[in-house]
Symmetry: C2
Amino acid sequence: MSLTNADPLEAAKAARLGSRKLAILPTEDRNAALTAIHAALAEAKDEILAANARDLASATKAAESGVLSQSLVKRLDLGKKGKYEDMLQGILDVRRLPDPIGRIGVRTLLDDGLVLERKSSPIGVLLIIFEARPEVIANIASLAIKSGNAAILKGGKESTESFIAISNVISKALQSTAVPNGCLQLVVTRDAVGSLLSADRYIDLVIPRGGNELVRMVKQNTQIPVLGHADGLCSIYLHADCQIPMAVRVIVDSKTSYPAACNSLETLLVDEDALKTVLPAVAEALLSQGVSLRCDYTSKKALSSTLDKHQAVFLQDASDEDYKTEFLNLILAIKTIPKTETPEKAVDLAIDHINEFSSHHTDAILTSSKSIADRFLEAVDSASVYWNTSTRMADGQRYGFGTEVGISTNKIHSRGPVGLEGLTIYRWIIIGEGQVSMDYGSGAKKWKHQRLPVGDEEAIAQDEEELRMLKEFRAKRMASS
Amino acid sequence: MSLTNADPLEAAKAARLGSRKLAILPTEDRNAALTAIHAALAEAKDEILAANARDLASATKAAESGVLSQSLVKRLDLGKKGKYEDMLQGILDVRRLPDPIGRIGVRTLLDDGLVLERKSSPIGVLLIIFEARPEVIANIASLAIKSGNAAILKGGKESTESFIAISNVISKALQSTAVPNGCLQLVVTRDAVGSLLSADRYIDLVIPRGGNELVRMVKQNTQIPVLGHADGLCSIYLHADCQIPMAVRVIVDSKTSYPAACNSLETLLVDEDALKTVLPAVAEALLSQGVSLRCDYTSKKALSSTLDKHQAVFLQDASDEDYKTEFLNLILAIKTIPKTETPEKAVDLAIDHINEFSSHHTDAILTSSKSIADRFLEAVDSASVYWNTSTRMADGQRYGFGTEVGISTNKIHSRGPVGLEGLTIYRWIIIGEGQVSMDYGSGAKKWKHQRLPVGDEEAIAQDEEELRMLKEFRAKRMASS
């Protein structure tokens, strides 16, 4: 690992070379590297937080003069309660997970003595470009090493102090491990992004972590595949039959628990029948937490007549633009779903709005009806779709991945929170005895195409009893064939 | 399905709308559409081959005057023995395969009453751009419909007649099925590629099927993810201990069975110790099939002293460029791997050459030593890596996928031959009871993250017999509990 001011192309080349060695390191060596990183970061907490405080001070100043957004400042803060501990815990969680590399996914008997296998492998070299969120360095480092990938990290100038502090600690920690030098490249050179994005010879995947301007810039300037999301415009559809306490809890959490996060709620769709029954309690709770409510005509009218006067004065009018906006702040757009002949038609209107305006990141429905929920879960085309829980659940740690390299709204490879599995690909391996293609086909030999066990009984059996049965069944059949 | 001369953006929009309906069609409806396509194409064979013959005649003329490459002409020919039948069989094979959509891949208990599921879904809208190979239309149509994806097909001008003939047949066949109009768009408008490549709002994935110029053009002109390969520079490493008959069979098949194919052999790496033992028989067989051998100094010298004089005169000198060239023709570059202290070091030289010069498509080793083979299989970073079989095995039909949309050298999503699974993605679904993110984390509730059975017997059973057994076992246990 090196913190480099050198030519970014050299960094990329070094990462490529290192990646070949890292890819064949045994599991224990990769886990030992995570242990070393965790210990060093725990040890250096005060020093790193001091560096982060300096970044935070400059950023706050820049935000006051309007140069930087408030939401970026919030994402920068590593001192926020529990954040540093979560970062450390993420490293241990990743270490505990099974090795994602070298797994056989498919095994097929093509013909006698001709076996095809699909075996998981690291992707190669990752380029991660991030703006704020200094904890990303630790997340990426642990996920990359565990999955056998080399990583080049390029931080934004807002987090430079934190970046250098964390980098130095990780760098020193890795020196005593088997991870080859060069596998983690921390680039602080200014203006390095352009040449890194053109290094498709050395880099296999780019993961931008930042606002949508960064993501768009990256997509427009590279032929390397890009994993991530530009926007996080998440919606909740509040069905009229939802219990009030659940609606209040879930919507307040979705909107207020971390407004600068990509999985926070931005648009609330409300059944017309819920405007005077469920919505008032929700609006009251949101207003009391300082959330600005931007309402369409119908919902504003209903709320104005039900809320206390001193609260109702704060209601605002929504513009069309508000339903296309990721506020990343304490603002919520509210839209009424009009009454229809059947409840199904109302769900379809909500689904259509979401498929048209949401960013296909995370969308939820609140209802007590299973059939209504199923319709929604089936038709909403987003990376994560929820019934009766907060949009804030969209997160690698919460999904059980330990931590994440990011959240993807791509329709290929990895979708939603991306952990270890999203950083792997596979190779197809065939072991034969000299068979050739001309042996098969019209009028010649037939393919067998028989699925073979991959030794996965443990993974697929529901319990011990079924496992025993399955193993016996397969053994008996192998013996008789 | 429509064969359109209209605005390509309208075609893309129609495909997007159709895709939403196709995505929720039941399996039987999608299979019935394949039955209809198969019957119609079988019925119309003469008519389609007549159209193909017209394309072939123009292309042959163009090739004679040097405007078109010979390899393109070869790929265009649908009348080649067995090709039409293979195309028809591919449709039936795809129909027979289990439905790739709606499968639960992961089910995790996040907490009591809070369950996360990963469910497979169609990607959405595919854009397939191809030059020759008219059978691609039938392959793509069947794979797309079976996997619930809409597809826009744009053919090259060389295959226009075949394209229109096949399109009309498929179009008529689909009218009697449940597949929504618009789900298959066959674009014959000239110059439509540019606007289709910019339609990232409607199109989720581009699959170029053609020469590397087409692939590079596509990559440079779109922000939509691209699946495929530019080059197919495949290599074989011939280790000194390989039995002569196997070496001859595998190398001749790899080079000569279809030289215009991307999985054909282009570079042969030969152990120095094999130059006068195994290589002469291989060279003799290749020369007698009209293959030009471009040899490095050492291998040419060895062959000159062992081959018959009237054969040796045909040996050519290799230039550096030859080891970077995908000939797609009866030409083979031969390079010597020099003797080293240990056999492992020689393998490493071969691995280094392949990782540097091959196109990471398909590479093979011929050896009788398991440890040598394992070293090679582990370290070669290509989509397909073989031991003792022909590089021509890299093919969706041969892998058991029925047919393929193409072969990918991408390091994300799908690698190698791409069939149904490569045309799917997934959504993450959470079903809760009102739990919110603030309930969990430092000092609050702990996540359970417990793997639950996916109850997906179809996905896990190796074959019909095991599926029956597994379902019976589970049903019996459910009844008794």
